[in-house]
Amino acid sequence: MPVVRPHVQRDALAGRASERGHASAATLGAFAAFLALGATSFAVHADWTPAIEAGVRHDSNVGNAQPTPDIVSDTVVGARVSMFQLFPLGAGYSMTVGGDLSGESFHRLEGLNNASLQAVFALKKKWGLGAFTPWARIGASAGRVDYRDGDRNAWVYRATLASGRRIDARWNLWADYAYERRAANAQEELVPGLSGDAFSQKSHTLGANLEYAMNAGILLTLRLLGRHGDVVSTTEPSANIYYASRALAEDPAFGPEDYAYRLVGTSYGFRVGVGYSPTPHTLLGCGFERLDTYAQGGNRYGKSIPEITWDYVF
């Protein structure tokens, strides 16, 4: 079982971490606002394309916990503003450079409120002209996410590969792969010899996507995904999970008695959605996602995420 510091000490540390989180979020927010304003003025004169999305979702198991008493659900409101520019390179190649700013607000777990900023680069190849030609895209992104509870603050790096083809105006198919590395602030070791870096993760995700347009205004979507890599489960101390974990840290965002364990696990899931376009620029969506994870230490957990989304592209 883990040896933990006295709560007073931990809470004091958590408090300082929280303050650090606030300061960083403010800096990030100011920087992002500056960037967004600059990008907006560019959009008027140049080849920038902005997009906005917002949504509310309910996560039935935010902490990825298995024992019923540890399962914490919450409702999250989020928004994202993105901006990108396309550069044609010839021979069907195009390069995209852009970035986005996003934020999330949790109803109960306020320590998880976060703001993030990321830059994206992508190279896309289309084999031929038109909407129905095959395409492939390789991309990379780097971003920073700051939480109110600063223990989770991290740099996020992602490499993606996607390929697909629109069959016709009704059917659209593509598959994607993503490697993600999340480098969080390292925490102190709670147990000698066991890393305190519980919020850093590496993962591989493979997805298959199908989109079906019922008519001019209604879209149905299906995504199947598999993910292998690090997962973070926040539970009360547990011997099985403790011995299987690769890192352990306090998780004050969930409560003073909760600990985050980094484990290796494999997730399988799906997402179904329906979208309605009241205007050509807008999509109102309703979706449901289910994920089941099999992690080390016999930690098996599931989560369901219904959500409502709004997308606007200019």
């Binding site: 195009s94 995209t96 002209l129 996507n209 199908l210 347009a213 979507t221 376009s277 969506g285």
Partner: protein, 208 residues
């Protein structure tokens, strides 16, 4: 409305109303009047015309032109477009451009030309290249009028991007006189309109 080819001082007029099978007025239907006497169309002109790009859409959505016409493709958006067509009636590609300086394209073969943008997959437009100079396009109220028709016999037919059956199924033989307008009414069967969605509902594979 397109007016040319009139060889006589006394010209007729053809007025058309197009509705679908539910009685709803049909816009963007092209009405074509082909004189049985080909001499009636000898003096047809080939004007310079344009299809604009506004808010990442082709404007107008449907553009009827006379064969041999030159069409410009100005870009009124703040972003660049790459206009193309691989329709048998006209294959062309305008490399990515902005502004109004793209060279005009000559449409020298009758038929339907489907326009697209290689950057914005949802952009679609139609140019109907007519072999007759007498044509018009219905407005929102489903009405169109062809004026300046030399009196005589015509084959009149319709085309629409969503029509269920071929345009040959709509052909009518009509007599046009100079005394009064000839009025026709059509009921057109249309397929549900389906275009590539502008906003995707699926988790996006990323930026375009």
């Amino acid at each position: 409305m397109f007016v040319c080819g009139t060889t006589l001082g006394y010209a007729g007029e053809l007025r058309v109303v197009v509705k679908d099978h539910r009685g709803k007025h049909v816009a963007d239907a092209v009405v074509l009047a082909t004189p049985l006497d080909p001499k009636s169309a000898l003096r047809a002109k080939t004007p310079l015309d344009a299809v604009d790009q506004v808010d990442k859409q082709f404007v107008p959505y449907v553009k009827p032109v006379f064969v041999g016409s030159k069409i410009r493709f100005p870009n009124s958006d703040h972003i660049r477009h790459q206009v193309y067509s691989f329709s048998p009636a006209k294959k062309f590609e305008l490399p990515l451009y902005g502004g109004t300086d793209a060279p005009p394209v000559v449409f020298d073969k009758p038929g339907v030309v489907v326009l697209g943008c290689n950057i914005h997959d949802w952009m679609v437009g139609y140019i109907y290249v007519s072999e007759t100079p007498f044509f018009a396009k219905t407005e929102i109220a489903g009405r169109a009028s062809i004026e300046g028709l030399p009196p005589g016999e015509y084959h009149v037919r319709l085309w629409h991007p969503s029509m269920e059956h071929g345009e040959e199924t709509t052909v009518r033989r009509v007599t046009v006189t100079a005394e009064r307008p000839t009025t026709l009414e059509w009921e057109l069967s249309l397929k549900p309109s389906l275009r590539v969605p502008r906003v995707s509902g699926a988790p996006s594979p990323g930026y375009p």
